[in-house]
Symmetry: C2
Subunit: 389 residues, 2 copies
Amino acid sequence: MNITPPPDPVTTLADPGTPFAVVDVHKTLGNIERLAKRAERLGVALRPHMKTAKSLDIAALMHDGPPCPVTVSTLAEAEAFADGGYTDITYAVGIDPHKLPRVVALLRRGVTVRVLLDSSEQAASVAHAAREAGLAVPAQIEIDCDGHRGGLEPDAPGLIGIGRVLHEAGCLDGVLTHAGESYFARTPEEQRLAARNERDTAVTAAERLRAAGLPVRTVSVGSTPTAHAAEDLTGVTELRAGNYVFFDLVMAGLGVCRVEDLALSVAVTVIGHRPEHGRIVTDGGWMAMSRDRGTAGQAQDQGYGLVLDLAGNLIPNLVMSAASQEHGTLTTRDGADLPDLPIGTRLRVLPNHACATAAQFRGYHVIDSALTSDAAPAIQADWERVTGW
Amino acid sequence: MNITPPPDPVTTLADPGTPFAVVDVHKTLGNIERLAKRAERLGVALRPHMKTAKSLDIAALMHDGPPCPVTVSTLAEAEAFADGGYTDITYAVGIDPHKLPRVVALLRRGVTVRVLLDSSEQAASVAHAAREAGLAVPAQIEIDCDGHRGGLEPDAPGLIGIGRVLHEAGCLDGVLTHAGESYFARTPEEQRLAARNERDTAVTAAERLRAAGLPVRTVSVGSTPTAHAAEDLTGVTELRAGNYVFFDLVMAGLGVCRVEDLALSVAVTVIGHRPEHGRIVTDGGWMAMSRDRGTAGQAQDQGYGLVLDLAGNLIPNLVMSAASQEHGTLTTRDGADLPDLPIGTRLRVLPNHACATAAQFRGYHVIDSALTSDAAPAIQADWERVTGW
């Protein structure tokens, strides 16, 4: 006699303890496809930035065949992606010379890891490390297009000298710029101008190096807003963006995506009611959402996030307006009545900044909104994140 | 022939890759001792909150003999501390009924875990779980003393009913309140008043329950500011505080501690200079510091943090004024000249909010400033943090 065991109960978003991070793979795929098509139309390679999702499983959604080129924000990411078979990596944070041995170790494994720098001290360190190791340490010179952070201005007197030091050690790969100020470009026109400026600046720097007889292979530009706004990338060889895999309320506020494109949310549970204060309390505080309040400076401040039911439908007028470590406070906008959400009700909160919110978790519970409109969507997979440095 | 191996080189703060979290055990011990003496003087038990350090090693500094009573902010902490031999635990976040099976599992192991609640729905869930499990689930009723977050006001009509439901199931342990608004009490006098109000509110609620014939064993109060300001805790049985083990710039801004008491810092490395923008760039961004900007609302905004040399000496006028994911921006105050900090220089940054900054790391490199004034202090130990929920 055969006894057929009962089928395993399906695990849904109603099951794990809250708070936890939810990724909707359907939305993620839509976001990935949209930018892939853009890059194709613009005639540039895409080098997605792993700093947002930090997930080999999400990276795998970006390519059918062999691993794609990737950008990383830490050497821990570089090492994890190298372990996962990725061999074409750009570490897009100015290199601390102390970290060069880890870069060399990856290069010795046959993994191309490009480093970034904007000073003659760093160039000398890279050249020295390359000579010591007897191999090339491919390096890009960071170019500043908008005063946001690091980099050399394209007409900086030191540019050619740095290029020469790198070239003489066999290490000059190219130039890289990042339009960090595009996060504050509030109209499509400002975003187009930021994209044009980002391209122009990178190409100008590349041309200066070439005019000095220095070979420039890579001209790399990108940020999520400019990647979605660029109209002409002549002279650019590759486009970078990271946030777009998930998007978030900051990007929706900039008009780079719609709120319904947001692929990352945090599942929380109602643990209290304070009707006299117009307040619902949840178990998702800043430990779950992060302290990022990127929409505070936008036209529409979204507090710590907008609130969905567990199925993913936006609850009108409800916003997570305050947070302590393990408590979230939900209030309504415009004096709307509080919805009826009893103790134990599960909700999902859309974050201000996907990079910061995702970083509060060790992994994602993955759903697919194309497969279900159930009140508690089934969990299709659990995906890990790379953590640390 | 004996070959004596060379002694292991001492690992110092100059060795691990940055960014990383540094705990000065000497300062931590000083902070722990200060509050322990206060609690003794006030005649109350101390139940330190593990939510800040989340470390069994730091908890071990708080007691000589058997494990002390602890407060936790997640069940992951409760489970980790139970595994570490702690048997007297208060989980001080309103209970999600879905989490009761994990509480019951701990109770079955002989670990006392008290839950918190402020509604009749939660009280019914706790009573039901206790009856199903055939054991008491000790519960405290959360009392709101300042409108900060959750809890029942001490004169709330529902208080007695909730107490009765719990008592009939053998679950009523007591009352708990937290003066969350004390973080905004800017003078010693305001902090003393917040502490008095916190005590009065908790004791009033306890007396109401007792007057209704309900036994109240525990009357628990606390926050780091009120714990350091309270003058009289008559009627209170225990004091809670968490942040004080490390303290931070918010607490220094409130005058609860001095900047030199801060025991947690983040080691970072200089990776760039932008003198034309008055800026030094480091490899410690918000991923390392968190997005917490708690001092933004204080009289002295400290940006993302104050800057020390690696030995721990404050660098005058230097402040971490901006952050992106893996980049920190240092600027000077009052038009002071930028200090000479070459590429590769290691620094330490004191955070706004120790709870949030510590949460960005999996553990701490531990130094002891009583043992050394070396430029690169020796690492005495590596201590892990509890993560997740």
